[in-house]
Point group: C2
Chain length 730, copies 2
Amino acid sequence: MLLPNEEIRFTGGDNLNLDRIFKAESIAVIGASKNEAKQGYKALARLVEGRYEGRIYPVNPKEKTILGLKCYHSVLDVPGDIDLALITTPAHTVETIIEQLGKKGTVGAVVIAAGFGEVGDEGKLFEEEIIKLANENGIRIIGPNTPGIIVIEKDLNLVGLTNVPEGNIALLTQSGNIALNLITEANLKSQTGFNYYVGVGNEADIKFHEYLEYFSEDPDTKVILMYVEGLREGRRFLQEASKTTQVKPVVLYKSGRSVKGSKSAGSHTGALAGISEVSKSAFKRAGVFEVNNPGEMFPVAETLALLPMLKDDSIAILADGGGHATIAADYLTDLGIKLPELTSETRDKLAAILPDNASLDNPVDVAGGTDRDPTIFADCAKILLNDENIQGLLIVGLFGGYGIRFAKNLSYMEEDAAHRLGKLMEKMQKPIMLFSLYDYARPHSLELLRYYNIPVYDSLEIACKCMEALSAYGSYLREYDKEGNFQLNWRFGVIPGGQNIIDTALAEGRNVLLEYEARELFRLHGAPVTPDYLATSADEAVTCAEELGYNVAMKIASPDILHKSKAKGVMLGLNDEPAVREAFHKIISNCNQKYPEADIKGCLLTNMSKKGIETVVGMKTDDQFGPTIMFGLGGIMVSVMKDVSFQVVPVSEYWAKVMIDEIKSSVIFEGFRGRPPSDKDAIAKLILTVSEVAQAYPQIKEIDLNPVIVHDQGLTIVDARVILKSADCR
Amino acid sequence: MLLPNEEIRFTGGDNLNLDRIFKAESIAVIGASKNEAKQGYKALARLVEGRYEGRIYPVNPKEKTILGLKCYHSVLDVPGDIDLALITTPAHTVETIIEQLGKKGTVGAVVIAAGFGEVGDEGKLFEEEIIKLANENGIRIIGPNTPGIIVIEKDLNLVGLTNVPEGNIALLTQSGNIALNLITEANLKSQTGFNYYVGVGNEADIKFHEYLEYFSEDPDTKVILMYVEGLREGRRFLQEASKTTQVKPVVLYKSGRSVKGSKSAGSHTGALAGISEVSKSAFKRAGVFEVNNPGEMFPVAETLALLPMLKDDSIAILADGGGHATIAADYLTDLGIKLPELTSETRDKLAAILPDNASLDNPVDVAGGTDRDPTIFADCAKILLNDENIQGLLIVGLFGGYGIRFAKNLSYMEEDAAHRLGKLMEKMQKPIMLFSLYDYARPHSLELLRYYNIPVYDSLEIACKCMEALSAYGSYLREYDKEGNFQLNWRFGVIPGGQNIIDTALAEGRNVLLEYEARELFRLHGAPVTPDYLATSADEAVTCAEELGYNVAMKIASPDILHKSKAKGVMLGLNDEPAVREAFHKIISNCNQKYPEADIKGCLLTNMSKKGIETVVGMKTDDQFGPTIMFGLGGIMVSVMKDVSFQVVPVSEYWAKVMIDEIKSSVIFEGFRGRPPSDKDAIAKLILTVSEVAQAYPQIKEIDLNPVIVHDQGLTIVDARVILKSADCR
């Protein structure tokens, strides 16, 4: 088995030149067509009719000209180089075409055909062959199973879609209809749009993180928006994302979390949908803003592209009715946004322009005060944004509909208010956004707001989510933890003694360390492992117990007995010599009886742990992200309540502390029912040690320190279990 | 303090005649106006211009005629009776007007003015006076602080809104702008609408449940849709709702769950927003479908009004792209909807009309198979709904947009498909609904679907929620538990000995029962309370312990010492005579030292409990719903993890079992880590007993049986605490 950093990669590596792909000066459309329904026509038509300035070569052996362009019999007939190829022909033709493109100096090929990795093992093998062939020919593949790419500025549109609105959002997606969804939404509900659209497809060659790196450096891209079914190289993605988010926001929606959804994703893009808890915490640490609902994707990206960030998480709500005010307050509270009290000065100013029954609390309810003059919205907004405690404003309710619902002349007042709100935001550099129930009717006042970069949403929930994104990204930038990178340094921190333990086990054909081996491994790495002794006879056990001091615990030591309790191989609270002697004989006889073939090394003796809070610290190898630390309270809190936190290795001190505080039950560490507070620093240190061990020995697949009893000072590792990747993986 | 069933109610009770209000044959508009911005004009204009056939009396001392109608100086000048009055004048004028209306035989008055219960204690008193006066005059009040009511069929529109779309949904709301929101949405996104709109306002006189009862019996009302900030008579609401939901669905959104939201609700309608966990379980038991998002309100009500119910929770997804298919599968799985495997017959039929790379699993992805012929959607729908395992169909993606996005002639094919889908639903009586990303563009094909009662949504999340509502209401009707009513029979099941214990405590000025009193109370009601003895001396303690058999627990018994452990008044695991003797002296001396003034009755002795799972069974008095049972696991599972279930009293056996199964941690009762399963029947029985005790003695405010140790057979109530409402409440 190969280790992750030793994989032989067919994916081209250094020869990726996305700039030459996205700025291609010559494009061949292979499978160019006169049939208007085919992509070989549509893409060609978009290139011809648009601003695309490079050379265009239709390739089709059956046609002489298409759309006024000379059509070539084959790739080899094209005069001069081909920077980029769009291959719209079926899967079985791709191999020959790639070979031909290799001779034309092509750097990138977009492969539309399905029938590769997403259709099962045979398709996967075929896909790998194609990628290998392409890379050998110096060609990088976008897709396969992709709708293509669009570079708006150049009108380099290989998807063939019309009416893609222009803006500063780079779109990376694993679904053509989600892309169409977002484009349609941008057209209908926004004045902004996209600068790139990349259909990532099966992500067989060029991976998400490679596109991300490009957009990260692209000065025109303000926000990167991603629809992901599964990440082929999750670890590399996190590395790249955590760099990108320091310069621009990344918004992501991940589907495929259910069994049916994950199966659907598999048959769609061949993606392996990962455990959502691990990816959630990993994305968060990388500063990626994950949305929970596809309807939030475009609005959140738009908000982050257009609005100034929130300086802190304190905003005001301005409503023209109690219902929307109440619901918005509920939502924002759920999302951790604060609605501070207004200063008395602010309240006085509002009181001067609003009716007596207006609510001058935050949320502010104008209570009919704007019914005859909606410009009062702008007056209120100015007062609120001038309050030093208020960093942003959410306006909710009917704005935009006064002219429609009540009297036509109110429309003009709404337009006046829109101009003033727009200028106010520009001046104050504090974000303003709206929920309007009249958005669907598209009144002019709302278009004006959008002209001033004030987004308007037709869902209160989505508007609140956008406010959260502004707050979350702002605080990520302020609190970014420099230690929290995702660089795995395999074998960093390896200790010869530790390596020896692992090598011994592997040499003996074992993929599980014995408990005393696991304990020794962690002891070598500085973990507070209490002394233990391996006794091979009852006499030795007594000597050991007296060395340790009573009272002691005794456990069977055998590579063949994993479930020690089940084999009646554990006895606790042994307080004197006869008890130890009896326990030794009993444990050995119990285990001999249950596992007559077992290789019994003896019994392990340790002191009984002091009382404390039972926790679990573990490590497992995630399919997408590699080694991942897990932390939670012991017993049913982990197994039933799933109250667990995850972080991928390596974990920094900052993130170790986040892991402890993140579990719902963490308050019990502060002291519970009269108990003293627990030693959280000791837990954090142990988490760091587990992270270090996982990194030092790539052969380790799983670690389970369970239970770990945390005291008011220090902790006790009661049981330790280490599973290796496989006996032949040294 | 009055008990709930003994409250003196000023709220008119029997003289409510909503039929005469909603079908009023004469209406006075008090505060009628020529100012078009005022409700006194708008309401009058709607009455005059519409189909309203009754007599209309504008009242305004300053005008002679308004809108061609004679205007009266005062109510008393109106000739003949006034069935219903709309009072648009300020709060301070209402008292006089009510007195005058009393003389005109008026049955109902809609009071628009704010400044009552929602503005604080003074406003509340004023509100109570007005209601009392009105009821004495035979008048019931809608509001105050309401936008009014609309009866669509009669064009009885006192709100003054135009363009309220007609349909079969009765709308009950505590917010005018939420109503406007829903009406706007219905106009723009639906072909159905409302038959009633009632602005409930402060709910000061006529309560939610009274309107509910009326709509329940109204044959034209198919669904009742409610926006609630707080229920003034929550218990009566549950009683009425559980009757109503047996004949028609009730959809409800409740806001005010956050501190800020609840404060906003308070200043809006004076509502006391309740604990959302209690209301959630109560609504569910009453068969009310609670939505979590205001954007779901209208769609869910529309779906329930238009579509056949789901026969079970198994549906198919039909998608024209993998992204939407995957997301829909995730959502539906989260909501508990099943996506069964398709039969091989179904798969064969689909394979015959779809391309090779189509996914014939459920979700079905046509993979381009509809690109040139969207009528294939109708073919697929027919095949899917003829599968015996499939009870409903969700179509997701671009349908409606083929003509817009690809080629105009595809629109006609989409329209053809719409007609066929409509007829298919009618024939099969299985629900069909759509998510279309082209809804916002309002293509004709989607209007056609709506004509056939197939709803179309522009949010995938909302479409899935609507499917859940069809499934949930269907299963509620199938599984309705007749025992699960909400009728509180105070004093039912009272036992003289139990009453005596309570009376004694109250007579002694105590509002807490001593532990042995509480134990005796539950013992009298058949709960498995283990024997206990009160010892007043060390000698007695020894006798008691020997009677019980060792080992025993000993606890201080004093009405003045509530926190027994804190006072060092508890000693456990006493195994012999000297231990018992020493413990008695120690406990008495500890408590004397800590509480020198305490009235010490002695020490209570019980057996130590066998091992088992620690649980808590409690009862508390909820502000909105009255006595409510609480159940959860002991320790941090209740206090930190909030893994608790609630049911209002009385609890039936069915709902007691639901309470046990509903907590997340309930799987541990099935046997955990080799333990035997726990006696869930014993827990259910104890819950029933607590419910019975809560009902038998209205003086009880709180019960806390904590911990209750559940064994594989039976359970042990280790500590029991009963708090009474107050010492002067007999």
